[in-house]
């Protein structure tokens, strides 16, 4: 549908103005056509490569399920998968425990105070994962910040082993993913009508009860949305566990990278990728059912 075509449909009247009647419902409106470039782009550089990888996991020179079989039969690989899920779950729970109170606090502050505190959350958020993971190496090392401080305060004799193990990985990942919980949770919480709480108090509820029975349930979409967001990202994390973890902390993404860079096992790497991709997309679809995705970023209704 071209602009010219549309104009031809509305000929000028004698005064030279084009009468603009309500546009007929054309088959291809401008709004639809304008989506073509991005759809084409994503089809070629996003959907196609991913589909190709999914295909590669079962179709090498011929159809085979060997790669998937290998994943479930060789114990070490199953362990890596289990570990990734476990760590992702732990990170999610920790993010919830740390993030919910902060989101709650923020949602109750005046806009000026929020404007003051938001940068504390947003600035680290915009700094690259690589830089932040590197910073954690410097903090958690045997001669790093924490150990130096503890030793100087006389609290420890030996340096604590908090790097190159799961503790370090969890710490680093929670630090990076926390804003992904706080922001959606906050976004949902500020929409909760405080009058509902007031009504509860008027009817005699204690603050605790008001919170538990009114606020908490209403904030649930934010919790689930934020939690899912953290979980699916934690599953696929690479940089942080690679830098902060020990040999026992290998996660799926590191395994995938290894298969390609060291062993050139495309089929197996593709199979691992497929598992990760499907788990992630599954989580995402769940997310979109529970929460209108646009809410997460505060789109006005």
């Amino acid at each position: 549908m071209t602009v010219k075509g549309e104009l031809a449909a509305h000929p000028t009247n004698r005064e030279g103005h084009r009468e603009r009647a309500r546009p007929r419902r054309k088959r291809w409106s401008l709004e639809t056509l304008i989506l073509v470039p991005i759809l084409a782009y994503l089809a070629v550089f996003y959907v196609y490569p991913l589909a190709r990888i999914l295909l590669l996991s079962v179709y090498g020179p011929r159809l085979t399920f060997d790669h998937f079989l290998r994943m479930v039969t060789v114990p070490v690989y199953t362990q890596v998968l289990m570990r990734s899920f476990r760590i992702a779950l732990l990170v999610t729970v920790l993010s919830l425990v740390l993030g919910y109170p902060v989101a709650y606090l923020l949602s109750n502050l005046k806009p000026r105070q929020v404007a003051l505190l938001m940068p504390v959350i947003l600035v680290p958020f915009t700094i690259s994962v690589l830089v932040r993971s590197y910073a954690w190496m410097a903090i958690l090392g045997r001669q790093g910040l924490v150990n130096t401080l503890l030793g100087w305060l006389g609290l420890t004799q030996q340096p604590l082993e908090i790097l190159y193990n799961e503790f370090g990985v969890l710490l680093g990942m929670v630090h990076i993913l926390l804003p992904f919980f706080i922001l959606p949770a906050y976004s949902v919480m500020i929409r909760i009508d405080r009058d509902l709480l007031k009504a509860a108090y008027i009817m005699g509820a204690t603050p605790a009860r008001g919170f538990l029975e009114v606020f908490l349930p209403l904030s649930l979409p934010g919790i689930i949305g934020g939690g899912l967001l953290v979980f699916i990202q934690a599953l696929g994390f690479f940089v942080t566990p690679a830098l902060l973890g020990g040999p026992q902390d290998t996660m799926i993404s590191m395994l995938i990278e290894l298969q390609i860079s060291q062993l050139l096992n495309w089929g197996f790497a593709a199979a691992l990728s497929s598992v990760l991709l499907i788990a992630t997309l599954g989580g995402f679809m769940l997310l979109t059912r529970i929460v209108r995705v646009s809410i997460l970023w505060g789109e006005a209704r």
């Binding site: 602009v3 709004e31 606090l105 830089v131 593709a270």
Partner: protein
């Protein structure tokens, strides 16, 4: 806020410890950012804390080494190209989403946002497979094309919000007065969403600038980006040049955040616009 302020001291302790808890969490979020500063200025050859003394030698090292400078130049180039491409594609997409009447808006929106969710390692692998067949590994453009996919979600998010706050009636009014669709867009809507577009472009730039995984696979030797160089630096070098670079790299998003905040201030208070949260 509560209408019945808690006055028992149990409640007051509760509130106080709650505030302390939140403060600790916020400290936890901010701390690592701070530690890079003394490290970058350390004179020691290793990640020692506290640094024995201070010096600028690592910054010197960064600016005098060709491989570091080339990596930085590449990152800027690729970042700008990505920002341009993503903003153009994203603006069109946001327009189609916001102004369109499709019933599948939510689905489309989710689809456009999905690159943020798809694990980077899988996407990087997929791109590596694609581009090595196309003989484009080590070519700057393969990075631009890949980064654009990753940059589209923030661009679309920002621009959707921006477009939504611009009343369609303004565009319609222009058309009623005889302007063609395109002209109405360019002369009425575009200026109003320009701050949003600049913000989106800045975020797209950041996404590209910070990407590691795609660069890890597609950089080759000719298109090494700064994150790739830093990653190698962390694993292949023993000196804290990476810390110095990290500090410089941290300044960039801070500057960008400040700029976007200023842009938002400009956008608010002009007719026909609401502040976006």
């Amino acid at each position: 806020m509560r209408t019945s302020p808690p006055n028992s001291w149990a409640a007051r302790i509760g509130t106080f410890s709650f505030r302390v808890y939140c403060a600790l969490v916020l400290l936890f979020l901010a701390a690592p950012v701070v530690i890079v500063v003394p490290l970058a200025f350390s004179s020691a050859d290793f990640l020692r804390f506290p640094p024995p003394s201070y010096s600028l030698r690592w910054f010197n090292n960064f600016f005098s080494r060709r491989d570091w400078m080339e990596a930085a130049a590449n990152s800027f180039k690729i970042g700008f190209l990505t920002a341009g491409l993503a903003t153009v594609l994203g603006t069109a997409a946001a327009y189609g989403l916001v102004r369109g009447r499709s019933k599948r808006k939510e689905a489309l929106y989710a689809f456009f946002i999905s690159p943020m969710i798809v694990p980077n390692i899988v996407f990087a692998l997929a791109l590596y497979y694609l581009f090595s067949r196309l003989r484009m590994v080590g070519n700057m453009w393969s990075l631009v094309l890949g980064h654009t996919v990753l940059a589209l979600p923030p661009v679309i998010i920002v621009l959707s919000a921006s477009l939504q706050s611009v009343d369609y009636a303004l565009e319609q009014a222009a058309m009623i007065h005889g302007a063609r669709r395109l002209r109405a867009f360019v002369e009425v809507t575009l200026p109003l969403i320009l701050p949003g577009m600049v913000t989106a472009a800045l975020f797209a730039f950041l996404v590209s600038f910070d990407d590691l995984l795609i660069a890890l696979f597609l950089s080759g030797s000719r298109a090494v980006t700064l994150p790739k160089r830093m990653w190698d630096g962390v694993r292949l070098e023993i000196d804290p040049t990476v810390a110095a670079v990290a500090l410089l790299v941290m300044l960039l998003p801070t500057v960008i955040l400040v700029m976007t905040a200023l842009l938002r201030k400009r956008a608010v208070g002009r007719g026909g616009e609401k502040a976006t949260p």
